[in-house]
Amino acid sequence: MISFLGKKLQNPLVLASGILGNSADILARVHDAGCGLVTMKSIGPAPRDGHKNPTVIDMGGGMINAVGLPTPGYAHMDAEWQALANRKFPLNASIYGGSVEEFVRVARFVSDQGPDFIEINISCPNSDCHGMLFGVDEKSAFAVTSAVKKAIDVPLIAKLTPAAPDIGRIAKACEDAGADAICAINTAGPGMVIDIEAKMPVLAFKKGGLSGPMIKPIAVRCVYDIFAAVSIPVIGLGGITTGEDAVEMFMAGATLAGMGSAVRYRGIQVFDQVNQELNTWLAEHHTTRDAIIGTAHGSARADMGDRAGTTPFAAREDQKGTP
């Protein structure tokens, strides 16, 4: 068991948003398969179908997707919320909106459903008008984070995009606005894959976000920059598929390690497998996860703050609403 923002997690692995997370049953299964914290598919303000297929294409070494933020809308998930109220696992609820007001409306409702954390997706590239613009501009990131923070009763995680020119500054803006943790990264790009026989982009939306092993160096760099810029914990994800990938992410500064695309390559059992690989590596190196967090930054960063995220959330209540 580890402690993260005052909640107990069975291990430091996280299911990325948008991967399988659209029902209580499947979230429970991923938890049982060895995932410490499961994240729901991002929930939006109103019903939305997302884009036409093809929406998700594997390229080997990673994938490209433009699913397009499909959502039942927070108000049309009664059965789901009921099932989740009786859950036996920690839950991270990802939300999005097209404006600060929408984010706040969704956040307030979702907070009342009692998730353990709320993650704001201010970083999705796959829609024309949702999310991403908040994640590339410090002022917008601050505005949405502080507004949501005031509206909710659970710890707030801000999920960032690698498209930001300086992701450390965005992370700092979120921290200043009251975010309790940062999650990075969302998909990279956007990119495009053209089929040369069909003479057109393969994705129906034409452009899509990249994920999986091919983006790991970008993710590691982003987490490294964020760690240097803030003192709240970071959930590092992007291309993690093995225990050693997770170690690399911890050394960059992550407190928890998330996985999404890895489910494609190693199945749902990837959580158990990576956990074992991680523990084996740590044992062989006579160290612990706490001890390696941020070590790639060298001794210059002796001030580790509360990187392990062990301070109970209640102790942060004073921060609530004060940027």
């Binding site: 948008g18 991967i19 399988l20 997370g21 659209n22 029902s23 049953d25 499947i26 429970a28 299964r29 598919k41 019903p47 939305r48 179908d49 997302g50 036409k52 297929n53 093809p54 929406t55 998700v56 294409i57 594997d58 390229m59 080997g60 994938m63 997707n65 699913v67 499909p70 959502t71 039942p72 809308g73 049309h76 998930m77 059965a79 789901e80 894959v193 089929d195 026989e197 069909a198 057109m200 393969v202 129906a204 999404g260 695309s261 489910v263 494609r264 199945g267 749902i268």
Partner: protein, 273 residues
């Protein structure tokens, strides 16, 4: 060969129009395949949808399409030479047993995934095929095995449900002390598969059914196709009695494109658009 990454562009080699509602598209290309597995068919500029492989030889495969929605009407209108994208095969496929004491129950276009299975099973199987009318019967001359038909209007075989025939046969085997079925395979409307499953449960017989859900990735990441805690595209599409017993969503709930969970009837209505 597997094409489980980017779509591989293939020309339609041949098209067989079975009747006004069904057509099979053939592709002259080897593909690794186990009966029950599916591919994603991309019509550039239109959409991409899952279809189970209904014909397979070492050098060629085919998919049978029922024209019922916008996409499928476009698909059956394709002509030889037209270029489409194929990803796959995906999914688990049927667990094939060698016993002669097996039943196969097909409803409507549920015949398509079952056809390559029938060709690999012991020819002494008990084979039932139900359809709306005689006109809707797929592959009338394809199999060596004898087929028992049911139609809604009695235009071929017995008027009524496939489960009537299956139940009679089960009772007959019990009364005559004949060996009972070691496995029942079914594919068709979910309500029919549920009826088959329930009948099998009552008689203590194992079954396998092939489920259908809206799909995006086909390889177990997007979550569009979940049914209870199972991922239809990777854990399925074929599920066993033991799994079905624990799947409360079977014949009850399915997700719309938005991810909203709705009663199966509403899902079926949407899928037929």
């Amino acid at each position: 060969m597997t094409f489980d990454q980017k779509p591989v562009m293939l020309k339609v080699a041949e098209k067989t129009e079975h009747n006004p509602y069904f057509a099979t598209l053939f592709f002259n290309c080897p593909i690794d395949f186990h009966p029950g597995q599916f591919i994603m068919l991309w019509i550039p500029g239109i959409d991409e949808k899952p279809y189970t492989i209904s014909f397979h030889t070492p050098a060629r495969f085919g998919i049978t399409i029922e024209a019922k929605g916008i996409f499928s009407r476009r698909a059956v209108a394709l002509s030889p030479g037209d270029l489409v994208g194929i990803r796959g095969p995906f999914g688990n496929g049927f667990d094939i047993i060698s016993s002669p004491h097996v039943a196969v129950v097909a409803g409507g276009c549920g015949m398509a995934p079952l056809a390559p299975l029938v060709e690999r099973l012991n020819p002494n199987l008990f084979f039932i095929h139900g359809a709306r009318t005689k006109q809707f019967i797929l592959y009338p001359d394809r199999f060596k095995a004898k087929r028992h038909f049911t139609t809604d209007d009695g235009s071929l075989g017995q008027k009524g449900f496939v489960t009537d025939l299956l139940e009679n046969e089960m009772k007959h085997r019990t009364e005559k002390s004949l060996p009972s079925f070691d496995m029942v395979y079914a594919c068709g409307p979910e309500i029919m598969m549920h009826a088959v499953f329930t009948l099998c449960e009552t008689h203590g017989i194992a079954c396998q059914v092939s489920l259908e859900r809206y799909m995006r990735c086909g390889f177990g990441v997007c979550g569009a196709c979940v049914c209870s805690d199972r991922v239809v595209c990777t854990d399925g599409p074929v599920f066993t009695s033991e799994q079905l017993e624990k799947m409360a969503d079977f014949n009850r709930t399915a997700l719309l494109k938005s991810g909203r969970a709705v009663p199966l009837d509403d899902y079926v209505t949407w899928r037929c658009q």
